[in-house]
Symmetry: C3
Subunit: 191 residues, 3 copies
């Protein structure tokens, strides 16, 4: 089995940018990762087994079936790691109106056995600014406070994932003018 | 099985008020929850099996017996959910001089399998103010700092419960002049 | 089995000082603890079974073997508690360039079954000051921020350990001029 690294970050943290730049540089050094999006693997399985068509319908599946498919997705990803190192693109906590859902609950960690869990973080105000560019603005202070809460809860959740699975937790700060620094920290984890 | 929702909050967070108002409004909409206090169910079992008479004596029971009764209480609550949705009134962490005790350790979550864990929070200064009304005052700053610590630790613990059980965690802010907002968020979870 | 108390704290928190002073006072009261350093027990087992000579080489052992030895170390410590109460000197999270590693992952807690987990904390600036005395200085603000992050993550991890094992978590603040207070809080836990 090869290395499995979980990469997380709230929307607007710059997760995708950091990851893509790091992977491009690693490719030049002949280090090739497969990137699997947990939600995509889930959706694929949901389509095959539950005839669910889009992401919004996934949570309508009964809890027991949902968890079984979550575990199945983890197994599929773990199997993929036989052929080379794998990055799992996912969330510590998914925010919904009903609350924060754990992206890697116990039964997922049992199958996935990641080596590290990376959290890409940024300042709440910077994230709010990045989000505002493409969405309708809300009261900025409120949004900033919510992002702060989400990031704090993500840290706590990652700590619990570590306690349960033994994975290392790495927090990478992605500042507005510090992309290169974030990218080289990410390379440090993946190399 | 019906929905099991765990509701938590430090003393003075307004947990009881928010819950009662939400339940009254839901009753008018024919949504009826049973509310079970975890400590009460524990005490009942302790009386039956260990001849313990009051709450203060409960921690004198040997750790293994204590845990068995904790698990038993969770089973009893889970069984009650056959007849309708259940709210479990409890604590993320119970604060004692020896430290913070988890209200829902692993063996409780395994039996209870809650759908959501709600944390009712308020500003530490507001909680300190509410507590001061009925208790002898201590140095305010110290009390405020302790409440802040307790609420932070509750968040971290709820995150661990979520990681272990898959439950969603919902944080509801109960501001001094924002009771209605808190109540309608609670209704959103329970409906 | 006797009491097992886990004592943790980041470098510079004053963990060793608080612990030694508390143990000296307890000795005068005929309360005698064995103190076992988790890293030392690990190294001993690594030497016996993997022919590893120093701490830096320990992480080179394959993950599965490493975890087996971690579990073995916990068993050894649990056995030692047959003869008297035990303090386990360790870390909530060990900080490495690759991230934070949990000191007490699930398989360790399953064997160790601690009664309490103590975190010795201090203000980040005070810790930075204490460290600066014996090490080469870095930009102070950066160091302070890193210590703050580490202590926050330690709290979250201790909460997860509690959720998993049922142990109580006690946070003891060790202020620059408050050593005696910290020592008497520690004695309160150990007595």
């Amino acid at each position: 089995m090869n290395k499995i690294v979980v990469v997380t970050g709230v929307p607007g943290s710059g997760k995708t940018t950091v990851l893509e730049k790091a992977l491009a540089q690693l490719k030049a050094q002949k280090v090739i990762y497969s990137v699997l999006n947990y939600g995509d693997v889930m959706l694929e399985l949901m389509r095959e087994r539950e005839r669910i068509r889009d992401r919004d319908d996934m949570r309508k599946v009964p809890a027991d079936r949902y968890r079984e498919i979550q575990r199945e997705a983890a197994k599929r990803i773990a199997r993929a790691s036989k052929w080379g190192p794998v990055i799992v693109d996912t969330h510590c906590l998914v925010k919904k109106p009903e609350g924060y859902y754990p992206g890697l609950p116990r039964w997922v960690l049992e199958e996935l056995r990641p080596e590290s869990i990376v959290i890409i973080e940024a300042k709440p105000e910077e994230i709010a600014g990045r989000r505002a560019r493409d969405a309708s603005r809300r009261r900025d202070k409120e949004v900033t406070r919510e992002i702060e809460e989400h990031q704090l809860m993500n840290r706590a959740t990652a700590a619990a994932y570590a306690a349960f699975s033994g994975a290392a937790v790495k927090i990478i700060k992605n500042k507005d003018k510090g992309l290169n620094e974030a990218v080289s920290e990410m390379i440090g984890i993946l190399r």
